[in-house]
Amino acid sequence: MIGHEQFRENLALYAVGALISEEAHDLELHLVDCATCREELEGLRVAASQIVLAIEPVAPPAQLRQQLMTQLENRAPTPVAIRSRNVWFWVPAIAAALLVCVAARLWMQNRDLLSKNGQLTLELSENERNLERANNLIRGFTAADAQRVTLAASGVKVQPGAKAVYSPSQGSLLLLADHLESLPPNKVYELWLLPANGSSPVPAGTFRPDQQGKAALIRSQFGSGVTARGFAITVENVPGSAAPTMPIILVGTV
């Protein structure tokens, strides 16, 4: 009977797909119960990615770009427009679209699992985690404690604006901003959670607006149950700061 050490010896071969199917299947059964091997495998997979990442790039034929754009016309996702007044309408739509995409992918891959070898068992687990993340997003945006904050410009002219939805219990955060001024390449906007207990602002992510001044930021695993009294946005140097730099561009409280 193969023991833990033998399975561990096979992890590197598994990570590069070199095990025969029976060996791979036995190892996958072991991985279900062995967190140590799962963790080591994750590191070996990252290492294996270097093999493929080292391949020299090759410019594809120019017509491929146009062919792909044509495919997009036929398979366009439902656009999630960010509007200054009715953005809340799209919040469940974003989450639902996530759920539908992940669920559809799961269904197709589950069907393939019937005829594939045991390696896909691990992929199924990963898809289930994706589905759980999508469900978490939905629960977060619809939770009773979801905090909806409207942020407004601190100056006289109310031009830029942003809306944030944050659920401490679900760890989900959504920010939709509009009419933001463009920034030089070395600057980014940074969102800050202002804790209700008065402690220091917590960095919640950086972003840059598009040409229309719109921006979106989605976090599915943010915070550790910290209740917010509000959010603020500042301009920081790339890649972002650990503490906000004055002035505050937008701020809002619960």
Binding site: L53, V58, P60, F207, P239
Partner: protein, 177 residues
Amino acid sequence: MAVRQQFSNEGEIVARLLQGDRDQFVRLYDEYSGLIYGVALRILRNAAAAQDIVQDVFLQLWRNPTSFDPERGRLAPWLAVVTRHKAVDFLRKMKFETDAPERPAAPSRTNNERCPEAETARRLMDQLPPEQRQVLELAYLDGLTHAEIASRLGQPLGTVKSRIRLGLLSLRKEMAA
């Protein structure tokens, strides 16, 4: 402007794709199509099949942007590994007959020249002993099992297994250094 420079947070790329931002998608294509096509072409050695893989990878990203999780890693390695999986799956399913490589004589490096992850990976692979690099590439890029590699190279099975382990552990160690 390069995507990497424009977005300090790759989660923002996902958010933009979820909004159906085609300009963002086009920028991603211009940035990463060379990487993806290079990987697919290396594995399949067939231009038409490699182009199908490129379309498949980008359509997956367009239709399901959240399949990339920025909290688990960077976009370039993720795209490279996804491409590898699709190409090797294709190779195994179709028992693809590898014809002569159809690469351009001088591969373009314009797309990924500034990709720091790729430059690091090339440096790490160049540091490996040739016999370790060879077995890693035969397994990961050509989809061969340890037994098939041993048969092809005329080497003992234990030697092949050992080289794969040593090579991958060396890569992991150098990445952490």
